[in-house]
């Protein structure tokens, strides 16, 4: 990869490039990746994105919509999640700039129907990925929307696995692998999530992976971790837990789980807007598959 002619800068680029995906014909987040070198000459991967968003996202995020897109990479070896957004640090925080509850335009004022943006980033730099070689499950995430998932191999020397910190200390009560009354049915190769309770003190999310997903040979390199993620609408914080899929579940072809959303969101920080109505977007990923976004309002 060191002979790659493609050089990607350290700060995001916000225009359509030859390597960018074509303009989406319908509302979508799309991206392509290419081996690249950083300006310092280090091997990396460049991510080129094209987005076409419904006008509602322009009403909420305006010209900062690109910065609202989360770039997510899950280390296939241990389920550790890295995330970032294609925006420089030290910008006015999106959490305080966004219009969380946009009203319809006043009479006589134009309504935004669609917003189209492009960006390109050095994936390793933008997500602070380790310099060592690893493969990642990569996707883009903007609230209710996700892109397709791609397995991306980051080059580099072999190195030790980074620790998986966020799920340390989580109790069995917070997260369980089990089939429960609220477990949704799953078919095909999908992962399904649903919210079954709306008590203020505990928001339980139930999930299941379809047997076919477990039966299928995992995409190389194998990822045997289940990752649950929640994006807090107001604070823009993304929290996650990853767990190794139990051997028993793999053998039985049945993976069911449930977790407490509020505990997962516990670290969302100073602008979590804990007063209702609160909203979070929830995802689960396993074996290179991604669930649809569950919007939890509570």
């Amino acid at each position: 990869m060191s002979s790659s002619p493609l050089v990607i800068g350290g700060t995001p680029v916000y225009r359509r490039l030859p390597e960018s995906p074509p303009p989406p014909e319908s509302f979508a987040l799309d991206f392509a990746v290419q081996p690249a070198s950083s300006q310092a000459g280090e091997d990396t991967v460049a991510l080129f994105a094209a987005t076409l968003l419904p006008g509602r996202y322009a009403d909420i995020y305006g010209g900062r919509a690109t910065g609202a897109v989360k770039i997510v990479a899950i280390d296939t070896r241990n389920g550790r999640v890295y995330q970032g957004q294609p925006e420089r640090d030290d910008a006015v925080p999106l959490a305080v700039a966004m219009n969380a509850q946009p009203a319809p335009p006043r009479p006589g004022v134009a309504r935004i129907e669609a917003l189209e943006t492009y960006f390109a980033v050095d994936l390793r730099r933008q997500l602070s990925l380790p310099p060592t070689a690893a493969s990642y499950v990569v996707f883009l995430w903007l609230d209710e929307m996700t892109s397709a998932v791609r397995i991306v191999q980051l080059p580099g020397p072999e190195g030790a696995l980074p620790p998986v910190l966020p799920s340390a200390g989580v109790t069995d009560e917070d997260f369980r692998f089990r089939r429960a009354e609220g477990t949704p049915p799953a078919a095909g190769v999908e992962i399904v999530l649903q919210q079954r309770s709306a008590a203020p003190e505990a928001i339980r999310i139930y999930g299941a992976a379809a047997p076919a997903l477990l039966a299928a040979a995992p995409q190389p390199p194998a990822t045997e971790y289940l990752t649950v993620m929640a994006l807090d609408y107001r604070s823009r914080a993304l929290d996650w837990w990853s767990y190794q899929v139990p051997e028993q579940a793999r053998l039985a072809g049945e993976l069911a789980f449930d977790f407490d959303l509020l505990t997962l969101l516990g670290g969302s920080g100073w602008l979590a807007a804990t007063q209702p109505p609160r909203k979070a977007f929830v995802l689960a990923s396993a074996r290179g598959a991604l669930s649809r976004v569950l919007t939890a309002e509570f």
Binding site: Y61, A91, V92, A97, A110, E113, A114, T117, R125, L165
Partner: protein, 468 residues
């Protein structure tokens, strides 16, 4: 029986005559006093009585200014206990330093305190000898590089390095100069100086043993709606007249800092009548002199291009009322458009990202954007104040080597330090001032406190990956 050591120190006697039965064989030396050796303005040395003080280790030593630099020089004077006036040459004297109980453990290399001729010896004990008149040679002690560390320096005649007189207790401090320039507001004649909580800044710096001294005059630069990142260095340099570099930073309170102009394409359903497009200033930032890229329109089967002349860009509202917006008024003059009906317009324009603050390496200067805070926090004076103070600490914090990749003891700052667009700290979730996004938190996390206390601050800016 005579003892060569171990006896408690004695105050010098008022008299000077030898007891009638004293002999050289059983006599012993007694500490008269311990002095700090200070260089006068003319370059000669003078012995001064010991005193405790803050020592500003990041400043160059200067004549007549013993409080500057890491090195402190001492000399002690002894006499015969018997009062004898015979020569004291070659008598052994023992120097030691007591480190404060709260001092940073684990410092290594040049960060350590110690006796010697250069910083970092790590030797907290050293012997010396007296001359014929009972004075020791000059003994040099270097404080650690860790702000807040304290050291008490003693001289004693006891060979087990106990007792003696204390030459003073010294606390490691640093001192920086800073300059404040506040842009004029767009109207009303005032400046943004009312948002600069310099007392808060100085107080927060004192918490990490850093004294700030104001320098220069407030140039009150003319108002500019936005300062682009590429122009920030020149703009700040033109406003600057303070001194103190390279132990200096420059704070500039401005309207808006802008970076990363990005083309953005919006498709509008523009109503008939008096067509008007509104873009809230909270999420859009347009440079009125250079905003238009392209535009097309469609009305039924009619399509065509719009030029910049078909739009009139104005800005309405105010931060205080939270209704600021960029307004585009559309004119269809000369086009085949039924102005009574809706038109679909696809507009591509250049949108800037509004920065919270910006650190430029020259100066170094910190530009603090005020407009967005006055808009966002118009209903909370404390949040407005803290958000501004957050940036006033955060950006100079970068110049001081925060968020550091490593801790002063050489350990990696694992899981606090992150580097994306710049070095930042993920401690306390997003509660540390050095977190990548502005907040109303004005607290540095324990790791960042540790790091900034370890920086010597002798020349700004310091990189986050720089060694200590």
């Amino acid at each position: 029986m005579c003892s060569s050591g171990g006896s408690p120190p004695s105050q010098p006697s008022a008299g000077g005559s030898s007891p009638p039965n004293a002999t050289a064989e059983c006599d012993r030396i007694l500490l008269v006093d311990i002095y700090e050796v200070v260089q006068r303005e003319d370059g000669t040395d003078v012995n001064r009585g010991a005193q405790s003080r803050n020592q500003f280790i990041n400043l160059d030593p200067a004549r007549g200014r013993p409080e500057l630099g890491r090195r402190i020089r001492f000399r002690a004077q002894f006499r015969w206990a018997s009062g004898s006036t015979r020569s004291l040459a070659g008598q052994s004297v023992y120097w030691y330093a007591q480190a404060g109980a709260q001092n940073r453990a684990g410092l290594s290399g040049s960060l350590r305190a110690g006796f010697g001729t250069a910083a970092g010896s790590g030797l907290l004990r050293t012997p010396s000898t007296t001359d014929a008149s009972g004075y020791t040679g000059i003994v040099e002690f270097f404080l650690s590089q860790y702000a807040g560390d304290t050291f008490s320096v003693f001289a004693t005649e006891n060979s087990d390095y106990t007792g003696g007189y204390c030459g003073g207790t010294f606390t490691v401090w640093r001192r920086l100069s800073y300059e404040l320039d506040c842009m004029r507001r767009p109207s009303g004649g005032g400046t943004y100086s009312d948002r600069a909580d310099t007392a808060g800044l100085e107080s927060k710096c004192r918490d990490v043993f850093l004294e700030l001294q104001r320098t220069g005059t407030d140039a009150r630069p003319a108002h500019q709606r936005m300062i682009k990142a590429a122009d920030a260095r020149t703009w700040a340099t033109n406003a600057r007249d303070g001194t103190g570099a390279p132990r200096y930073f420059h704070l500039c309170m401005i309207d808006t800092i802008a970076w990363d102009p990005a083309p953005i394409r919006l498709t509008f359903d523009v109503p008939g009548g008096s067509p008007r497009i509104e873009l809230p200033a909270s999420t859009y930032l347009l440079d009125s002199s250079d905003w238009f890229v392209s535009a097309t329109y469609r009305q039924g089967t009619q399509t065509g291009s719009l030029q910049v002349g078909n739009f009139r860009l104005t800005e309405e509202g105010a931060p205080a009322t939270g209704d600021e917006k960029f307004v585009l008024t559309v004119s269809y003059t000369g086009l085949s458009v039924n102005t009574a009906r809706n038109v679909t317009i696809r507009l591509e324009f250049k949108n800037w990202t509004e920065g919270s603050g910006l650190q430029t390496p020259t100066g170094p200067a910190t530009l603090v954007g005020v407009r967005w805070r006055e808009r966002r926090y118009r209903e909370s004076a404390s949040d407005l104040s803290n958000s501004t103070l957050n940036t006033m600490i955060h950006e100079p914090g970068h110049a001081m080597g925060l968020a550091s990749q490593n801790l002063p003891d050489g350990q990696a700052n694992t899981d606090h330090y992150v580097s994306t667009g710049g070095p930042h700290c993920h401690a306390l979730s997003n509660g540390c001032v050095m977190y990548e996004a502005n907040s109303s938190s004005v607290r540095l996390c324990d790791h960042c406190v540790d790091c900034v206390r370890g920086r010597n601050l002798s020349s700004l800016p310091i990189g986050a990956t720089a060694s200590y």
